[in-house]
Structures are given as C-alpha cells and as structure tokens.
C-alpha cells in the first residue's frame, strides 16, 4: 500500500534541500504519494533565472558542491515529479512576499498553495520538514 510522504522545505541550504530532494525522488519513484511544499528560503531557488549560489551549512555541504557525481537537488525534485508524479507546491504566502507570478517559477512547480489546503491534503501522511 502506498504511503503518503509530505515534505515541507523552508531552509535554503544545500544539505537540507539535497536530503529533501533525495527522499522525494526515491519515495515518489517507489510509488508513494509525495507532495513537497516550498516556502521561505527554499522557494527562492525555484524562481526562473535565480543564479545565487546555495549556501552550505557545513563541510559536508562543501563536499556535495565539489563532487560532480552528486545529482543536483533540482534534478532530483524534477525526477520526483516526472517519474513518480510528486506534487511540488509553492507556498502562496512566499510567492506574495517575493512578488513573483507563477509563470516566473520553474515549470515543475504546481499552483500556489496555502497552508490550510496543504495541511488538509496531508492528513494521515508522514510529514518531514527541512
């Protein structure tokens, strides 16, 4: 039976985004129902044309950056959506604060979503926050 895995991404650091993306991609590709809610600093990297470097928290983050064999987190989130039908949802509050429209976000992202709807859909799910 498929599990429900709901992930909240708020941090904009490489380690947390990488771990969230790894879990999202593997869970989705294994048949779990996956939904990722992007807010706060995490949403910034999904605005088209965003070229700012992702800060690292510690030495492991630097390792992730250095080794070309580590799949980029955005690629893994894309795998989650394409291979496992994961929903990638931008937080409506964060979109308002950033003053961006949905067509300025990466195409893998779904419609702006409020917390009430997200929490309602997350009922019974395993919730992970990064």
């Amino acid at each position: 039976m498929a599990r429900k895995v709901y992930i909240v991404c708020v941090s904009g650091t490489r380690e947390k985004l990488q771990m969230a993306a790894m879990i999202a991609s593997v869970a989705a590709a294994t048949g779990d129902e996956v939904c990722v809610f992007f807010s706060m600093n995490a949403l910034l990297y999904f605005v088209k044309g965003q070229s700012a470097a992702v800060p690292v928290e510690g030495s492991f983050g630097a390792l992730l950056e250095k080794d070309g064999g580590v799949p980029p987190f955005k690629q893994l989130f894309k795998y989650a959506a394409e291979l496992g039908d994961a929903k990638l949802l931008p937080c409506s509050m964060a979109i308002d604060l950033l003053k961006v429209s949905t067509d300025q976000l990466d195409p893998e992202l779904g419609p702006p979503t409020g917390l009430t709807k997200f929490l309602s859909e997350a009922e019974g799910a395993q919730m992970l926050t990064f």
Binding site: V26, A29, T30, D67, V70, L83
Partner: protein, 76 residues
Amino acid sequence: MSQTKIIDARDTFCPGPLMELISYMKRANVGDELELLSTDKGSVNDVPEWIAKVGHELISSEQVDNVWHIKVRKTK
C-alpha cells in the same frame, strides 16, 4: 529477442543510479532487459529493493572490479 540496454551510471552517487534506471525503465517495453553499471555501493541494495517493491525482475547482480552490474527485466 531484444538487446540488453546498458545504463552507465558510474561515478554518480545515491540516488543517481536508481533514478537513471527508473528513467530508462519508464521508456522500456515489457520484457526488455536493462543493465545498470554503478560504482555507488548503496545501489547494490537499493536497486533490488526497488525492483522487489514495484514488481520487476532482478536477473543478476555482480561486482566486476569496482563496478556493480545489475541486470533487471521490465515485467509490466
């Protein structure tokens, strides 16, 4: 008889090899054989786990030098 498709995922880290395999698996036909080449040790356990969970067939898994060769067949 279909030819085995080689997926070279050497020098990529978890979950890169698994994602590469799944990408090709999605596009393959039922009955096709795929052979994943991986230097990521986690793939040795993760790929068979995924195969068992989604219901494909693990044909073989062997290490040659530092490379794991994992052969699978798409069954559905």
